[in-house]
């Protein structure tokens, strides 16, 4: 499941129970991760497509799943461009022309900031527990690591864009390894891999996320966390249009 806000990849900070968890428990824990957590992070996003390779430095803040603010720190051309998400709405701020624009619903499938993530990825707050039914489809060793594989399918009335998700977590620490995304015809469309576990604010987190579209194998978008702080003190009005333009 792609995090609704980048700073919190799934699977972090779980307490490993004595019993092997059931699929329902695993998914509930993944959901619970989101609620109430605030974060402040700095990261590098690298995008490679057939026609260009770009690297951006981003700073982000989030509160729960509803609020997020992401600002581009570099390169110079895009410095200061910011995206504010509040519930299902996304606004972009463009410092060169000092204007705020709203992203309409019709553009939600579009790429975010030229990457392989979509606006929809940013906005969607689907919860594993309420939107998907999950089962543990594999528990054992793969490539020398003991993992759980969970297959999740959307519930009939869930408003989600995927037909199926397959998540692989390490059994030790419940760190995400990989998430595979399938469309409604259960064709695999993209894969997110997680690597480089680093301890941030006392939690072990995969610091690298790599998203690869399967129809263009040489392309990818990778995010590397440089700094990540959990539950920082955030100003009350941080996630507002004024703050979007202000700084």
């Amino acid at each position: 499941m792609l995090p609704a806000v980048f700073p919190l990849p799934p699977g972090i900070a779980w307490v490993r129970g004595a019993e092997p968890p059931t699929a329902a428990e695993l998914m509930r824990r993944m959901d619970e991760l989101w609620r109430g957590d605030a974060s402040h992070a700095r990261m590098t996003m690298q995008v490679r497509t057939r026609n260009y390779t770009r690297s951006m430095t981003l700073e982000s803040w989030s509160r729960g799943k509803e609020h997020s603010l992401i600002r581009i720190l570099s390169p110079k051309k895009d410095e200061g461009i910011a995206t504010l998400k509040v519930s299902d709405n996304i606004w972009n701020y463009l410092p060169n022309i000092n204007r705020v624009t709203k992203v309409p619903a019709s553009m939600m499938g579009g790429a975010w900031m030229g990457s392989h993530f979509t606006n929809d990825d940013l906005v969607r707050e689907s919860s594993f527990e309420s939107d998907y039914t999950s089962t543990v489809t594999f528990s054992g060793e793969r490539e020398g690591v003991r993992v759980y594989e969970i297959t999740s399918r959307p519930r009939p009335d869930a408003a989600v864009v995927w037909g199926k998700l397959v998540t692989v977590l390490t059994q030790e620490g419940l760190l995400p390894v990989r998430t595979e995304y399938f469309d409604e015809s259960e064709v695999k469309v993209r894969v997110m891999t997680f690597s480089n576990p680093v301890k941030f604010s006392g939690r072990l987190v995969p610091s690298r996320m790599e998203l690869r579209p399967l129809d263009k194998p040489e392309e990818f978008t990778a995010i590397d966390y440089e700094a990540l702080e959990f539950n920082p003190a955030l100003p009350e009005n941080l996630f507002s249009l004024q703050r979007l333009q202000g700084r």
Binding site: N92, P95, I97, R99, K102, M113
Partner: protein, 453 residues
């Protein structure tokens, strides 16, 4: 009584064929006028049918010409050049180099208009909409298409940007380029002339293209998608927004009125082949360079025009068949009424064939009169349509769109002489065919019985 049939007493076969026909014709002609009301009504049906067919064809011809002109002159042009990957997948990076464009232009009597396209977001205040950006060369485009005349408001003045200060007077200014937008987009963004809109795109280098633009014109309807999302700007504005320094997506070619599409295509293909960079260009992911006629680009319109001849023919068949029903009835009645008289003629030696010919000649003369009158009224009505046209603007002030082609609110007709000839011939043919069977019946009369009828 013998004197009633001129020359009948002179020779057994009533004379040579032409003279016989003349005599029968004389009789037939008089017979037509014996019952003026009936002949008049029959002729009226035929006249109506013929007038309808001529006028309808003139109207259709006018419409098709309007559609073709609309398609080619407004936007598509006569021929277009693209890379294969642009045609198939709208690959943004499948570009035509600027010097290939120059090479092709040397071979063409008119300048060749380059174009660039991009998708983006147009925004004004808190209103936003998807945008289809179309960048044109402000000098060449008006020489190739008539887009600049298709404005509801404002003008296609796309060249120079203004400098504005969105970040305050103490910060460096930013260029604000002029744009012309589609009517539905103007409505959705609540944008009038002079309004500022923001465009955001994904630039060629992956960065976020963004800029300020001023609406200097609003288009009349072109096609539904463009009306809702179209933004026209100059190529320099595009290059600044999209970080794309060279190359174009499309070249639009207008040909000489004298030449044909295929001739022009051949000339351009040859010029393309002689361009030295072609080999290297076509090996890159953009694919080969494709030169297409407007019919290949918009096959639905071309097919519709080709099929229209069949449709018109079918329609004509029905119309003339219906209007010649009157003729059938008339002959049946007239033959029945004149049984006695025909009996006399047969008794006097007219011969069955002669009888049939006489009746057919009556039909023929009636049809001929109808043809003359019908062509007259048909031509008159068609000329009126050519000059005045049918004005729908009361009901559809902006015209309507059908199959991606917009119809102007006034439809003009176009009269073609060959259509008149064809209609007349068809009408005569069908009418005579209809007249044949009842005419035969007159030949089956038996003089003795007929005389006593």
């Amino acid at each position: 009584m013998a004197s009633m049939i001129p020359g009948a007493h002179r020779s057994p076969g009533l004379g040579s064929l032409p003279r016989r026909l003349m005599r029968l014709g004389f009789l037939a002609w008089r017979n037509v006028w014996r019952n003026r009301t009936r002949s008049g009504l029959t002729a009226a049906a035929l006249v109506a049918g013929l007038t309808l067919m001529i006028t309808a064809q003139a109207l259709w011809e006018g419409m098709f010409r309007q559609m073709t002109a609309f398609a080619t002159q407004l936007s598509i042009g006569h021929l277009q050049v693209h890379r294969a990957e642009y045609v198939e997948n709208q690959d943004f990076y499948a570009l035509l180099p600027d010097d290939l464009a120059a090479r092709l232009e040397r071979e063409n009597p008119h300048p060749i208009a380059p174009r660039l396209y991009a998708a983006g977001l147009a925004s004004r205040g808190d209103l936003s909409s998807g945008a289809m950006i179309k960048a044109v060369d402000p000098v060449r485009e008006p020489q190739v298409t008539r887009l600049h005349q298709h404005l509801r408001q404002g003008a296609m003045a796309l060249s120079e940007p203004r400098l504005v200060h969105p970040r305050g007077k103490d910060r460096p200014p930013v260029p604000q380029y002029p744009v012309v937008i589609g009517p539905a987009l103007a409505r959705n963004l609540n944008a009038d002339l002079g309004a500022e809109i923001v465009l955001i795109t994904q630039a060629a280098d992956g960065s976020i293209g963004n800029g300020l633009f001023e609406v200097v014109g609003i288009l009349r309807p072109v096609d539904p998608a463009f009306d809702r999302m179209g933004v026209v700007m100059s190529i320099s504005a595009y290059r600044a927004l999209m970080a794309l320094e060279q190359g174009v997506h499309e070249l639009v070619v207008k040909i000489d009125a004298a030449g044909t599409l295929n001739e022009a295509k051949t000339v351009l293909e040859r010029a393309k082949q002689t361009w030295p960079g072609l080999g290297a260009l076509e090996t890159d992911p953009g694919g080969p360079v494709r030169i297409r006629t407007w019919e290949e680009i918009n096959p639905s319109l071309a097919q519709m025009l080709a099929n229209s001849a069949v449709i018109v023919g079918f329609f004509a068949l029905i119309v003339f068949s219906v209007s010649s029903l009157g003729m059938v009835n008339t002959i049946l009645m007239s033959v029945h009424e004149r049984r006695r008289e025909m009996g006399v003629l047969l008794a006097l030696g007219l011969g069955r064939k002669g009888m049939v010919v006489m009746v057919l000649l009556e039909s023929f003369f009636l049809a001929l009169i109808s043809a003359v009158v019908g062509s007259g009224t048909g031509i008159a009505l068609s000329l009126y349509l050519e000059i005045q046209g049918l004005d729908w603007s009361h009901w559809l002030p902006e015209g309507m769109d059908f199959m991606g082609i917009v119809f102007e609110p006034v439809t003009y007709g176009k009269l073609l002489p060959e259509q008149v000839v064809l209609s007349v011939v068809l009408m005569l043919g069908i009418t005579m065919a209809a007249a044949f069977i009842p005419s035969w019946r007159s030949a089956r009369l038996q003089p003795a019985k007929a005389l006593h009828a």
